[in-house]
Every structure is written in C-alpha cells, then in structure tokens.
Amino acid sequence: MAEKETLIPEIVDSVETLEAKMKAMREAQKVFATFTQEQVDKIFYEAAMAANKQRIPLAKMAVEETKRGIVEDKIIKNHYAAEYIYNAYKSTKTCGVIEEDPAYGIKKVADPIGLVAAVIPTTNPTSTAIFKTLICLKTRNAIIISPHPSAKACTIEAAKVVLEAAVKAGAPEGIIGWIDVPSLELTNMVMKSADIILATGGPGMVKAAYSSGKPALGVGAGNTPVIIDDTADVKNAVNSIIHSKTFDNGMICASEQSVTVLDSVYEEVKKEFAYRGCYFLKPGEELDKVRKTIIINGALNSKIPGKSAYEIAQLAGVEVPESTKILIGEVESVDISEEFAHEKLSPVLGMYRAKTFDEALEKAAQLVADGGYGHTASLYVHPSQTEKIAKHAAAMKTCRILVNTPSSHGGIGDLYNFKLAPSLTLGCGSWGGNSVSENVGVKHLINVKTVAERRENMLWFRVPEKVYFKKGCMPVALDELGTIMHKKKAFIVTDSFLYKNGYVKPIEAKLDEMGIQHTCFYEVAPDPTLQCARLGTDQMRAFEPDTIIALGGGSAMDAAKIMWVMYEHPEANFEDMAMDFMDIRKRVYTFPEMGQKAYFVAIPTSSGTGSEVTPFAIITDADTGVKWPLADYQLLPNMAIVDVDNMMSQPKGLTSASGIDVMTHAIEAYVSIMASDYTNGLALQAVKTVFDYLPSAYENGANDPIAREKMANASCLAGMAFANAFLGLNHSMAHKLGAFHHLPHGVANAVLLTEVIRYNAVEVPTKMGTFSQYQYPQALKRYAELGRYAGCQGNTDEEVLESFIAKLEDLKEKIGIKKSIQEYGIDEEYFLDTLDDMVEQAFNDQCTGANPRYPLMKEMKEIYLKCYYGK
C-alpha cells in the first residue's frame, strides 16, 4: 500500500492519476519552497536557456499540430518567452526577504503560492507554456498544465524541455506537471485543487477558472480598435498595423481587429495598405462572402484563426493574390451584428471612416464594448498631440493603451516600450472580469508577507524660539524688536482692565523710544469670542502691523493668536482648523503657515495658562455658542516674555485658580502617554515649584515677589511641558464642567484633580491609551515619581501616591479650593440632567487622547459624580 501511495503516475489521464500527480507535485513544491534565491536563479537560468535552444523545434511542432500560425513567428514568440522573461526577472528577488528597511522596521518576505494550475491555449501553446513554467520556477511554485486538446503534444513538449533543464539544475523532480489526456473534467479538477490559476483561454475557460473558488489570474478576449488620426505618420501607422496583424497570422490577442481612419487621411491610408500588399474586399458579394465565412452565429469560425489571408479568401470563395497580407473590409457599423466588428484572430481587418476624432473615439469605445473590455486599444497620432492622446486614454476601457505601436508586439511588452512588463498573460482588469489589470508577472505568483516590527514615533520638543524671563526683563526683551529686527508697526492686544490700569504703558514707552508705531486693541473679554477677534482683525488689517504683542492672561493671548491667524490667512476656515485629530502629525487639515506678515510676542500677566509658550488657542463663536479649540505648532508665539512685574497684583482668586491650573498642567503632562525626557524635567520642576510657592503667592501676593516669580516660571515651564506632551482626562472633564456650569477653569481642574489621579493610577486599567511609546500601564509609577520629587514619603508607589494625593488636597485647602462641585453652588438636579451630555462631550475632548488610561464613558460619569458630592 505504502509503495502504491508514493507511485507517481507516468501518464495523467484520469481523476485517480491526476490526484496522485498533484499530490506528488505538492511534495516536490514543499522542497522547492526551501530553495534559496541563488538556487532558484540558477534553475531559472538553465530552464530559460533550454527553452531558448528548443525554440525552433517547438515552433514547428506547434504549427504542425494546431495547423495554425506561422513557424517563423512562433519561433520569435518562443524566443521572446525564454529570453525576455529571463531578462526581465533575472535580478528580481522572489525568495525570502525581498525588501527591508531596518530604520522603519519593515521587511517584505516572499513566499511561494504552492501549486499553480495553468490553462494553455492553442493560439500560443509553446510560448505560453515556456512563459508560465519559467515564472513558476522563478517563484518556487509547482505548475500543473492543462493543455488544450488540439495543442497538447507541443504544449507538453515545451513543458518537458523546461522541466528537464530545471531538474538538471537542481529543481525537485516533477515540479512541472501536465495532464496528458486533457478533458473538461480534469481541467476543472486541476483548477479546483490548485492554489491559484493562471488561466489563459476563452471566455468559457476563464469563467470556469473564476468559478472554481480559487484565486485566478485570467485573461479575456480582446477586440483591439485602432484609430489613425489625421496627424499620424500614415506610413508608420499602416506598416505597423500590417506588421502586427500578420504576426503569427493575427493570433496574438492584443492584435488589431479594426482600424478607424480620419476622413482626411482615409484615402492615403487605403493607398498605403494596398501598396503594401493588403487586399480591399469589393463591396457586395466579396465582402459578404468573407463576412459569412469568418463569423457563424456571432462566433468565430474555427477554420479561421491563425490562417493566412489567402487561405481565408479561398475558404470564402474570393480570389486574391497568394501573397495577400491582410483582407480588409470597409464597413460602417460598429455594432456586434457586423461580422467585421468581431475579434477575428486572423489577418482580417475591419476598416471604418470617421469624420472627427471624437467620432473615431466613439467607434473605438463601441468596438471595445463589443468584445474587448479591459484588453487593448491603439492610437496612431502625432506625438505632439498630447490632448488627443489623453482623450483617447480616458475614453478607452482597456488596460493597455498603445500609442504609435504595433499592438501584438506592443501589448506583450518590452518590445516597443521598455517599461511595459513582458508577458504572455495580459490582465484585463475588472472590465474583463480579471483580478489584475496589468501584464502578469512573477509578482502575481508570490505571497508577500510584511514583517512590521514595533517602532516608536519621532517625538519633538517645540517651544518659541525665544523665552525671556526674570523680573524686569520686558523692556530689555522688547528692545530686540527695534535694534535687531527693525520692526516698524506693533499691534497690542489686551483687555480693558490691563489697559485702564496702565499695564500697556511700559510697552508703549519702549516702542516709542524705538520709533515703532503702535496701536492697541483692548476689548478682549474673558472667554474671548470670534466676534471680538474679528473686530481686532479688522483693525489689524487697517493698521498692517509687522508685530503683534499680546499682553494678558490666557484670554488676551488666545484672542491675539486667533487675530494673527485671520490677519495672515483670511481664507482659513475655523471649522477645518478646529477638527479633532488623533495624532497632530496626521491631521487631515494642513494648518496655514504663520509669521509671514507679523512677528508674535506674548507677555503673560497671570501665572496659569502658559499660552505664551503653547500652540493652543480657544475661541467661542458668540452666535452659535460653539467653542473652537485650535491646536497647531503654527500657533506658537515667536517670543515669550515672562516678567513678573506684569503679574504682581493678580487678585487672590485668580492666583488660586490659575495656580492649581499650572499644577494640573504639570501633572497631566508628566503622566501623558506622550510624555518624554524633554518634558518630564519641566513638569517635575513645575509641580515642586507650585507646591513650594503657591500658598505664599496666594496668601502674600505682591508682598512675596519671589513666590510670584516662581509661580510665573512654573506656569511657563508647565506650558512648555504640555505644549509637547499634551494633557489628559482632567482637562477634558474640566473643560466641559466649566462650559456647562460656569466654573472657572482652574477651579474645575482642582475639584477633579485627585479623583482623576486615583482613576488613572491603577495597574490594571480597563483600557490603556494607544501610543507606540507607551508600552504598559505606568501612571502609578509616574505619579509616585512626581510625589517623591515633591517630597512625599512612602515605602511603595502606592504609599507615595496616597501621600501625594494628601499633599495636593492640603494645597487645595490652603488656597481656598472647596471640597466638591456641589459646594460651588451647582444645582444637583441640573448637574444630573446635564451629566450624560457632559460625559460624552468630555470623552470627545481633544485632551482625552493623551490620558494614560483610555476612559470608558461610564467611568467618567462615576468620576463626575464622586467629585460632585465630594465622595
């Protein structure tokens, strides 16, 4: 039994023998699959050489057996199949790693497909067999051939030649196989059992291939229409067509079937055809006789394909010279009912007359629809007529569009254009019901595995090019505008409180001293509106500044940034600019480039938002109530001046709220999934500074200038940290709490702060944030790091965390933050009514993405509730 199982049949003529043959071939292919590129290339070389040597006997055999075609042309086809295919793929990598980029961690690995089923037609039997076996050898596949019964001997002989050479060069025995006695049953069986089908055949065979359930590379019928434009080189056009149409008596499927000639050159074309030995069938009886001979009931008479023009004329009972090259029928209809509109696979050509190029295009499109969808179309035109060439290409539903090229030779590639891949299997795309639309080659016979290793994103640290700080530094810093940058016109944006209280004066004095013209827009209100920004922009446009100086808290700086955008890019759309993004580098909208008209200087007067060093701005449309949060590094100020002299008289409430905002910025930046070594130092320092100096700044105000200055620095440090590491859930939830219930931003942050920390600092979060650098949940460790740096004690991270939270609660108490949302007078019923909306909007906030724990909405709801009631 065992012996019988391993017996490989010598003749495949039945279901049983075919089964055994394919089983053996699969075994051989398994071995072949382990071959190296070097081994494969040697086999490919020897096999191509052997096929090449046998091109003449194989061509003779093919003509003898099929009684179709011309030996000399079949020699060229065999030669082409061996030489051009070898040449095209000799250096192509088809085994193992074929592409690698270590920097990006990407690798492409080629695997063979396995057992390829090949259906081979009678029109090009030996050349197609050589082509298909060679590309299978190059790709380490086994190939089983189902020859056409009328060409089986020559097809098998060609396969044998390739097989013997391949085995001699080291390929496994039996890597190429064939059905010796073809039948539809066995062909179907081969197609159903193989891993992929290289189906070259009639529509019936291609349909069978596609219905086999296996992936198929099938090709279909062509009905190549040619257009000869009145700008074409007629001699070249006519002789190219003759050359192509007579090649192997017209049996290449890309060969010309009809020619549509523009009126003005029609006679010239006709004369040239006749001069070069083509016969124009006389209208009436001659034309009709040929019509009825070539097509029977809409199908091609099987006596026609591959026969000479003379033989076909004889068959039709029309007398023509024996040397006639092509029978040409001048016809009018492009409808399928016209016999000359069909594919003829023989030196018979239909000829049409067109008044205009557009009419010719229409005719060609109909001829393609008649029976050549997806195959090939051809145009002869002067190369300078680029518009016509483009129009033709757009109108043809074919996968090959050849210009000034004999289509038989042109379609198979590498003969008249050296970038069109050489192939004897021409994909016809979805139009032809095919899975490929290009010339089939080795790439279609491998499975490419992509090995992608984990890589980290490139990160960045982007801050204003100039950050000036220290008490009293403002006039010194502003000096640059005049002495170095030679600015002429400065536009100051601030709020009315600061303006009325003389904060703008020192700036104006400095500008006057330098001879810089200036004006001031001081109508910015808290939660600045788009309408206000528009007003400012109008004034800006009238004034045409080369410098914008924003003086104030977050509102004035944000409003100034928005005016800056509208001043530089009046065309930019806020809705587009405000579109949420997952990754700022992959956002759909490209932010316009800033700084072409004006240099932007930001001077904070409170220690909180850090807007002087961040790429963010929020603006509210007063008409609709919609808030547009903008984020892009284009919005970074060019210069930030942190001078505590501008901040001395902040009221207590502002000191408290903006101080705890700084703390939240620093903490969230530190635990963000985008936190980096570059931002961590800034965040750590900011946290410690706020702990150390906020209570005194709150208590003593201007009386403790050191504490004020430290808080100003902490604000800016935290700003630079979150400008690059972004924020988290605390801010998402605070944004919506503020929006729904009109709590000051800092206070909203403060009431949520420790609850969000507890939520984030778990070792087993429901879900983790997605970012290449963020490998595992680590918020607990990071909070503990912050705690330790701020002086919290504990033996474990958990203990430090508790101490850190206690320290934060202590700080909050010291600066007058209440224990719960409720204590701020927010109505319970209203809070509960709006809770779900608030949760959903907070979830969707741009800040949520960087949070170390990816939140579920029900979890956020719970946090809100806890904070509302103070637990």
């Binding site: 037609p121 009678t122 029109t123 056409h148 019964p149 009328s150 073809p182 039948s183 539809l184 062909t187 179907n188 070259t200 055949g201 009639g202 529509p203 019936g204 065979m205 349909k207 069978a208 279909g220 019928a221 499927c253 029977i296 009931n297 809409g298 199908a299 091609l300 008479n301 099987s302 006596k303 026609i304 394909p305 399928i336 009912s337 594919e343 696979l345 029976g371």
Partner: protein, 251 residues
Amino acid sequence: MNLEKKELIVKRAYKEVYKCEDHIIKVFNETHPKSDVLNEALNTARVEETGLDIPAVQEVAQIDGKWALVIEYKKGKTLEEMMTSDEANLEKYMEQFVDLQLEMHAQKAPLLNKLKDKLTRQINSLKELDATARYELLTRLESMPKHNKVCHGDFNPSNVIIGEDGKATIVDWAHATQGNASADAAMTYLLFALKDQKKADLYINLFCKKSDTARQYINQWLPIVAAAQLTKNNELEKDFLMKWINVFDYQ
C-alpha cells in the same frame, strides 16, 4: 386494448400514435427503451403539476407486449398547419408561439431532469466529433449560466395545438427538462433554421424582444444545441449542424 379500430395518426420509426374519442395512444416499438417511455410519462406528469394546461397522461400501459402511453386528446390544428395554410397571419401566429414558450419558461418544476446534464451526455456521446470539438463544446456549456426553467426541448409549431377556442396547448413532453430558457430558444431557432431561415429570423427576433434577451446570448448556445441535434443522426442535417458547431472560442 384493441388498436385495430383506432385511427393511426402518426407513424415514426419507433412509435405509432392512434387517436380515440378523447385520448390518443402512443405505442412504442419493442426496442424503444422502457425507461424512455416511463420518463416521458413522468415528465408530462411533472409539467402537468406546474399548472400549465397540457394534455394529461391518463395511463401507462402494455399493449401486445409494447409499452404505450394514453394521453388526453386535444382537439384542434397544429400551429404548423396554421402557419402553412394561413401564411398571411404568420407574424401573428409567431407571436402566439413565442408567448406560449415564455409562459412555459416562467414555470418551475424542480424534479425534472437537468438540461445541462442532458446536453453534457449528448455531447459526450457524439463520436463524429473529435475530442477537441467536444472539449470546446463542454467548456462552452460549462460557462453558461445554470437556470431552472421548464424547457420543452423540442418546441416547434408542430408540437403546439390550437384548439377550436383558439387556445394553444403544448404537446409531446418527451424531451422536457429544467434549465436555461435561452438554450430552449436556441433549439427552437435551430429547428426553424433547418427548414426555413426566414421563419427562424422572425422567431428569434420576436423571442429576443419579448424576453428581453440579447441575441449574442442565444447565439452562444447555438453550437451546443446543434451538437444535441446532431445526436439525432439525421444525415441531411449533418453539414449544416457541423458548420454551427465548428466555431472558435477565443483563447
């Protein structure tokens, strides 16, 4: 049953048909396969069940050692007779003929034999075709869509009886199958074309128009039905059929 008193209305090589008051008797000769006779009875019964108004099988009997079918008699003239005697109205008759065929195609009889199987068998049995031609035909058949419409298999005007009330009835369901209606139409076209190309063209144009079928699609069946017709071994038809069969599917 005594046949001597009955009127012999049809005589073929393998059968004789007698007419009685309200039924006809088809008597098959001894060499005719029993299974064919039973199959015809079964086919007819199955088509009856579709609701089409056709002559019902009344009895399967043996008469003098020969198998016979007793079938309901439909009074009237064949459409073929009427087309010949009243040529002026040919077009009208042809319309009626096509309408009747389409009404039949609208029926389903899931237990009838499959047309594709029958055609495959017929093509494989054709020894006068070489292996290549059979391979081509089978490939062509394989690629055709498989449907399940009631097909008569020999639908021609001689198998349509027009009753005195003008109602048309289809008779002789020996070749009935279920399958692609266009194949059935292709067969009808071929049967016309063998006798009269003009009638054939009239028929096919009407059929394509009424059934909204593309002519090319019916054309694709012609080599196949020509091969099926070739199995009937009519020497006179052979050249004609071979011409239809020998076409080249693009490769």
